[in-house]
Symmetry: C2
DNA sequence: CGAGCGATTGAACGCTCTCAAAGTGAGTGG
DNA sequence: CCACTCACTTTGAGAGCGTTCAATCGCTCG
């Protein structure tokens, strides 16, 4: 069963019962956590092919919002539970996904806890270019479905700092920017070096 | 099979083949990631009863170091693989653990990306007191197996900032400190409020 | 009792945030 | 087609939180 969401729609909220589990088919999604006063931390950006939702928890642990018109191939919660208990390979696959997510989250803890603003932005761009490469993009500018505010909330920075760092990378010739939602990689080596941090 | 490690021993390193998977029986462990220049981010503290190591990856994604003399009940990698494929319930349990870890990691991303120094220290103490409570501790001062440097590397701060915030909480009467490795909770409500952030 | 390491405290600096203003681009209506 | 609007982005200047550097304290161990 496929479900559709408009841009800026909320797919699900923390604390609510799990209703959306499945594979993202079209569009992109941000998942995030909130503090009582509204401060936001994006914990992940999802793209077509990515799995969304938890087949383990009864209630969601974070919020999910569509960044663009989204299409999700949804599994009914009950039938997924049954499938998982019947097909060990499926559960194994889920375990693999969970471990990949955990490793990425911990890599991001390193970024949020110990990297400078420049390193964070460089790391973020590296990740995006890498993901784009895996989906067949080659050379051409890639599309940023999220705005500066959402990038900032992913990197633990402010929009101004993100903007400044992007400008810096642009004037250094590492990337080129077209209209704030399209970025092209110019010097991959240099970007990777900045992302890893001075050594 | 049980393996023993002395304090400050490295249980395993990132990139190395997985050799240690099992349950922590005695002592405590920190897991962490490193940047090329030595900056460190602690991604978890493990206590008796906690599962350690990844049954999925062939190589470790982080480092693990003993904070005190440690005893681990280790499963041989091959036999664990076999057990997991034979006993679906075991794999399900691992999946549950992975999801719990993932949620904690994302909660920590929120802490590292968006919380102030005071909120970070308060959240950390809340977590410790909560864990201690689950293991039967009641009221009495709890032991901090890690030093200030390791707390700082968990919270994305410096030792000086951690020390200052602890002193602040102490003089506010929220906690009391005995010799830098024993902390007692005095005002749980107030600590929880500080941890959540102003609202 | 002295050495040495970790923790605490103090003072000044700096990176990022905050506040503010100007620039840009997409969408709308005349 | 152009002027207008509005939201988002960029850029600038100043402030603040946490860091850095430095000195003192306190505990443990020889």
């Amino acid at each position: 069963m496929t479900r559709h969401f408009a841009a800026e729609d909320t797919l699900f909220s923390a604390e609510d019962p799990v209703t959306v589990i499945g594979t993202l088919v079209k569009g992109s999604v941000k998942t995030y956590k909130l503090l009582p006063d509204g401060r936001q931390q994006v914990v992940g950006f999802l793209f077509p092919g990515d799995f969304i939702g938890s087949a383990i928890f009864r209630t969601n642990r974070c919020f999910a919002e569509a960044l663009s018109p989204v299409e999700v191939c949804v599994f009914p919660h009950a039938s997924l539970q049954r499938l998982m208990s019947e097909i060990p390979a499926l559960e194994h696959q889920m375990l693999k996904l969970a471990h990949d997510d955990l490793d990425l989250a911990q890599e991001w803890m390193l970024l949020l806890g110990r990297k400078t603003a420049q390193e964070r932005v460089a790391t973020f761009l590296c990740l995006l270019f890498e993901k784009a490469k895996k989906r067949g993009h080659c050379g051409a500018p890639i599309d940023l479905p999220m705005n500066r505010s959402e990038i900032a909330d992913y990197l633990g920075l402010t929009i101004e700092t993100v903007s400044r760092q992007l400008s810096k990378l642009k004037s250094a010739g590492v990337i080129s920017i077209n209209g704030s939602h399209a970025i092209e990689l110019r010097k991959a080596d240099q970007l990777a070096e900045l992302a890893a941090g001075g050594d």
